[in-house]
Symmetry: C2
Subunit: 329 residues, 2 copies
Amino acid sequence: MIVDCHGHYTTAPQALWDWRKRQVSEKSISENQLKISDDQIRESLESNQLRIQKERGSDLTFFSPRAGSMEHHVGDAAISAQWSRVQNDLITRVCTLDPKNFAPVCMLPQSPGVSPANCVEELERCADMGFIGCNLNPDPSGGWWKEAPLTDKWWYPVYEKLVEYDIPAMVHVSSSCNPAFHFTGAHYINADTTAFMQLIQGDLFKDFPTLKLVIPHGGGAVPYHWGRYRGLAQDMKKPLLKDHLLKNVYFDTCVYHQPGIDLLLKVIPVDNILFASEMVGAVRGIDPETGQYFDDTKRYLDNSKLNSADKQKIFEGNARRVYSRWKPA
Amino acid sequence: MIVDCHGHYTTAPQALWDWRKRQVSEKSISENQLKISDDQIRESLESNQLRIQKERGSDLTFFSPRAGSMEHHVGDAAISAQWSRVQNDLITRVCTLDPKNFAPVCMLPQSPGVSPANCVEELERCADMGFIGCNLNPDPSGGWWKEAPLTDKWWYPVYEKLVEYDIPAMVHVSSSCNPAFHFTGAHYINADTTAFMQLIQGDLFKDFPTLKLVIPHGGGAVPYHWGRYRGLAQDMKKPLLKDHLLKNVYFDTCVYHQPGIDLLLKVIPVDNILFASEMVGAVRGIDPETGQYFDDTKRYLDNSKLNSADKQKIFEGNARRVYSRWKPA
């Protein structure tokens, strides 16, 4: 079985984005005013994610709201709470309609400067609906980085709930309002790198030994600079990274060329790698050097030197272990 | 000849840092109040950079003020101008005392929100003194990223001067005041990634076809995500990166483990890679996995599959071409 742990509902029906526009401008639209039929949902998936799953040979995607549209920086906490409910409800509908191909991952109703404790209610609601993971935004300001590092007690209320439910969090920012940072080309990758470095500096997993964090996009710059990070940790008198972080931190395989995947597999232990493609996502074209889609990451793994036991871990076994609430339909 | 294009005077005599403290607190200290003897300079180098050059077998370092101490965010433009003069003068003294081992690279008197035109005077002064390169900080705010992208006309006055003198700029941030960003572990690497993505989005080299920018720290996350960047450029209808950027953009080799260097050499054309170690810099320890210093990057290049012609380019030839003002003593 091939499990893609990182997919967003980028192809949601237009009615969703229209509703969002009205939510932001009118500020008092009800959730009932969003009308999307089951057929519209099916259609949005069949020509996109489902088609690609079939073409590329993956079976199931851990599916969350479009990352760039979480937009925690837009409006206040109430707007964010309503938007999260709407988006997470839609993900539930996707996964109820097609439980064989999608498992639900939620967004959280974060808002800049508002305590993450404010996310607990929605997280509980989602857990009760069967969500298996969540996305946690380390920068709800959208590129201005005003929140405390992820190791700060500020974040503990949400970690407590994640641990209680054994829900892993993918550390994933949303869009960037900062003109310095292109969202998928700089902000996403920087956030991955930043989060990992914050974890090196702190000692978060001493307080939360069972918390699980997934760093997407192949861990940002981290595997490429693995020597730098091992060296910085050593200079800071931290334990070896394998002991300090790798019991709790995982990297996905959203790296869009063979040499990058080969490096990831070389430096990061196989138990810490989860297959992912983020298909219908940041990079949608065909690589002229290979004739294949850039984001067809399964191909890079198939072409790698992985043995079949390790491949099974990356494609399925690790996902089962990390996302313990996920039970295939 | 082995030329290390990225070294900072991290070991400058304590008197420099003491003077800086007084400059910031008293705001009216004169440059003459800084007293450093030639012997103190010699001593600060002999036990550090010179010793390491000998031990590792490099010959010459392109040498600039300590990056983390440029601190463009501290004080106003006048403070920054005075500090730049002091730091650049000290670099001149180093390179005059020992022209065989060091060639001078300047910092610029940037200040948040102040036009880079303000840097032209110091850049001219340094060029006249024989400086061969400069460091350009894309985020003088120190981690808050409030300046326009590097492709904005805001930066053009400094590019015009760089082109006039044929001085390459290394895009290098200083320390981070943002608690989200560890300076050498997140801010530096993020800045490299961010700058490259800004260059993809823009069309800077159409206006400055002879401008040369060096992205340090192996290009941040860029080579690891080379497929992502090629794909994003393609989605944006930009030319192939080799045509869009690689006539003007270079990467150094400050990547502190063998797999990272191997990846860099695999994906970036050899003509765009400059040897560098940033020794006595971000990572000072010995890698327990190899028994060698993390930042002994020459060793990784020696252990790579590079042929001798390509090695010569990376160790010397490219530096001669890119830093055209540099004439070995």
